[in-house]
């Protein structure tokens, strides 16, 4: 599904470059633990998380992230948005919790990433 559709489903806001909305998203993973994310993502994936520190962007240097959804209304600082644009990494914020966001996306057909 396109990122555009995900933004609509989560009533979210895209924080990075507008062209990111056309990105195709194939699967997702949700966690607030960095080691957990590193261990569980064997393929390019969308990440749902409540973490908003620089390390969550740095993560995308190590593994393939298709984008990051910040849940519970969390919004990263401007320098993180810059970091993400420099990496061509879409960032979205939603007011929904991790559980609700994941449920909505799963029910709309977005599968879990292979772990």
């Amino acid at each position: 599904m396109k990122l555009r559709e995900i933004v609509e489903l989560l009533d979210g806001v895209l924080l990075t470059d507008a062209e990111h909305l056309d990105r195709e998203i194939t699967c997702a993973f949700g966690s607030d633990l960095i080691s957990d994310i590193l261990m569980c993502t064997k393929e390019a994936t969308l990440l749902l998380t409540g973490l908003t520190n620089p390390q969550v962007i740095r993560l995308s240097d190590m593994i393939d992230l298709l984008g990051i959804i910040f849940v519970r209304g969390k919004k990263p600082a401007d320098d993180l948005i810059e970091m993400a644009n420099a990496r061509d990494l879409p960032l979205i914020t939603t007011k929904f919790t991790l559980y609700k966001s994941a449920g909505i996306l799963y029910n709309s057909g977005l599968r879990s990433c292979k772990i």
């Binding site: 633990l33 080691s35 590193l38 261990m39 620089p54």
Partner: protein
Amino acid sequence: MAVYCNISEDAQQKYEHFTKEKPNPEMSIEYKVGHKDFVNSGKASSEIKLMLKRLGVNPEILRKVAVASYEAEINVTAHSLGGDIICDIYLDCVHIKFIDNGPGIKNLEKALEPGWSTADDLVREMGFGAGLGLPNIKKNADVMHIESAENQSTILQIIVFY
């Protein structure tokens, strides 16, 4: 002093060859890692990955190097007083050494168990402290060697073959 060594079956022969030949690295780079510097930590690992990518190393290997190196770099930031990374790039492998300034690991066996962590609140707030870093390094590196004790520096070495 405690030592742990993990050599994957695949890598056994390559490792023996490597230790016998003792080749000179094609390239050697050093980085500094700051104590609790969660803004800059991870940069060395992403640079190492980028360098190997430019050398044409395949994406699956790149991911393994990056994950193992990043976990080790973050451990220096999160659990030690800071330290150095020495990355030696060879024709068929990369050897990365993480040397910190202590305070060392009291119980190395425990530290290597999945789920065991002494991470403080700040470290946990940053998304670390699952106790999965060392197991993750073990999983992704072809060779892993760790040396530590209480009130001493920790030296972690990894080798990944391309």
